[in-house]
Symmetry: C2
DNA sequence: CTGAAAGCGCTAACAG
DNA sequence: CTGTTAGCGCTTTCAG
């Protein structure tokens, strides 16, 4: 019953006009305290709730933000979503979630779906929304013509697009250099994405080697194509590389699940970690705590990034001038899988 | 530009009335093919998209479902959200996500927030929305007066509330019995929630012991209060129990992270798994694959449940009579942490 | 098969 | 300080 009531019903019962009810509802100051109380009482009494659609139609906004991500069940993305949703809600915004998968076409579809829903902005969570060629990124540009676009973990120069990211290039370079400094000679780089950010990480690895005058070897840069759930697949993948005679004394990865797979490979082959093989993960997720030894990993300050992203978003929606790019630094969390 | 267009603009350009445009938009059959094409062409040409708010106001629905969950970064819940969102989208519904945390007050607030948004239904993901006393569950009843409520992993008898769950009682009982049959005498039960479902699992454990004429011991039923991220905390928790002199040759848990913590405890104390200690997790998450040996775990067919839940939801919204309760059976996935 | 017109419930000028 | 009124853009009778 109660939520069938309209502002008209309330105005009648309170003996005022709908405008006054609306004012009370929206906290306008220009209402006499007494009438305000009278109206409030009626609202309270009947449990009246304003109709969100009508309000949305009038204001052309329902205070809703679209969250786009490839896969909400990915450990890292799930955390990001959690932080972002929470911060948005604290700022009075709702979150419409839309998981796109990893196909380009469905990314575009999902984005359009959100836009047709009239969201106030779209947050793209994860590096895989920006590819390494302009054509594939056109859909972001197009969307930015309608609403501000917030990118987490991606870097894209475009008006009305705001990026919050970690310097993955530097973080990977640092991690690799620490390994090199500790004496490792043959470092395998294991990654799973060719997104813009994925290639940045790879470049960080490469640059670390070059800085140390170590030639790059193609066979030491391996891309695993499987799912982030397929730890066994990773293990077999590394095993396969190893069985081909390729040798390495260190492994730097672009994601913790790859590091876990590498760890399982080592155990299966009686390779001592960190004695004979050192391993570094990325994202500092719970996965790093599950194996023995536990796994060193790059923490890229996800929560800080999410908080910042929402701040920037809210600022933008409030017509404030906001920085288009905010860059955090990653930090290697040292655990048992490395000895430095 | 394009999405500023209204149905009026289109009707003018097509030389028809807005009613006709609306009919075309909604696929009404009563439109002459030729006019239909004419209108479609204009719509196409100008990239017109109907205003979702206006439509929502008219139809009193924006085809949006609220998803409530304690913590979208929890491995299990994140997966559930992923499956549900995907299935909803395939059925033309959007998902508004709202993470409530584990406090009762904020559960109610979040629910009200969703209802004030005029969602068509609310899905509550996770057992912790139903407590073991009627008073605490009143808020669900109240909400059900407005929209259908879908419960995943919880059991609650109430009109307009639909439950999709796994028989956690039986699954835990089975797992415990298998351990008993394999000869374990002192089985520690490790859990972390007093939700209705949490207590069901506990009862399953207890019943298994009783069936085998083994007296229940309080010190063998331990509730870990920490976060699902705190694997080290779990390890210390079990360690503390052990150091108190309490002995066990098997551990059954209510969540995989507890099993991983138990595994780490065993390793730290040089207790052989599964030789001297067998461990069973719950949820069959990726965590079971990270340690050596890998961990046996109860799979409760999350994806099937989610698919079913959405089917039931869609049916209900289409005014079909749907079953109020759908119960799946869990299945123990045997891995290296058990020897049976 | 098509058009006119009455809402849907709220916000925001504009008057008073 | 309060009321009147004109939209917001779409759906849906009801006539024709």
């Amino acid at each position: 019953m109660s939520n069938q009531m309209t502002i008209y019903d309330i105005s009648k019962k309170a003996g005022v006009s709908i405008a006054t009810v609306s004012r009370v509802l929206n906290g306008s100051t220009n209402v006499k305290p007494r009438t305000k109380k009278k109206v409030m009482d009626i609202i309270e009494q009947y449990g009246y709730k304003p109709n969100a659609f009508a309000r949305g139609l009038g204001l052309n906004s329902m205070k809703t933000i679209g969250i786009l991500c490839a896969d909400a069940s990915d450990l890292y993305l799930a955390k990001a979503i959690y932080y972002i949703e929470q911060n948005l809600r604290e700022n009075g915004y709702h979150s419409v979630l839309c998981c796109t998968g990893y196909e380009m076409a469905s990314r575009k579809d999902s984005l359009n779906l959100l836009l047709s829903q009239h969201v106030d902005s779209v947050v793209m969570v994860g590096s895989n929304f920006i590819m390494n060629n302009a054509e594939d990124n056109q859909y972001v540009k197009d969307a930015a013509a309608t609403v501000p676009i917030m990118l987490l973990n991606a870097d894209f120069d475009c008006s009305n697009v705001y990026c919050t990211l970690c310097d993955d290039y530097k973080a990977t370079q640092d991690a690799t250099e620490k390994m090199l400094d500790a004496g490792m000679q043959n470092i395998l780089y294991l990654y799973n994405s060719n997104s813009y950010s994925g290639l940045k990480k790879l470049a960080g690895y490469q640059n670390a080697l070059l800085t140390h005058d170590i030639p790059l070897k193609k066979e030491l840069q391996q891309c695993f194509k499987g799912s982030h759930e397929d730890i066994d697949g990773v293990k077999n993948f590394v095993d396969h590389i190893y069985k081909k005679g390729i040798r390495f004394d260190g492994i730097v990865t672009s994601d913790d699940f790859l590091a876990v797979g590498a760890m399982n490979f080592a155990r299966a082959n009686n390779i001592n970690v960190p004695g004979d093989l050192q391993i570094i993960g990325y994202n500092n997720s719970i996965l790093t705590l599950c194996s023995e030894p536990d796994i060193s990993s790059v923490d890229n300050r996800l929560e800080d990034m999410c908080i910042q992203l929402v701040k920037t978003l809210i600022g933008t929606l409030s017509q404030n001038e906001m920085p288009q790019k905010t860059i955090f630094s990653g930090e290697l969390i040292k655990r048992g899988s490395t000895s430095f």
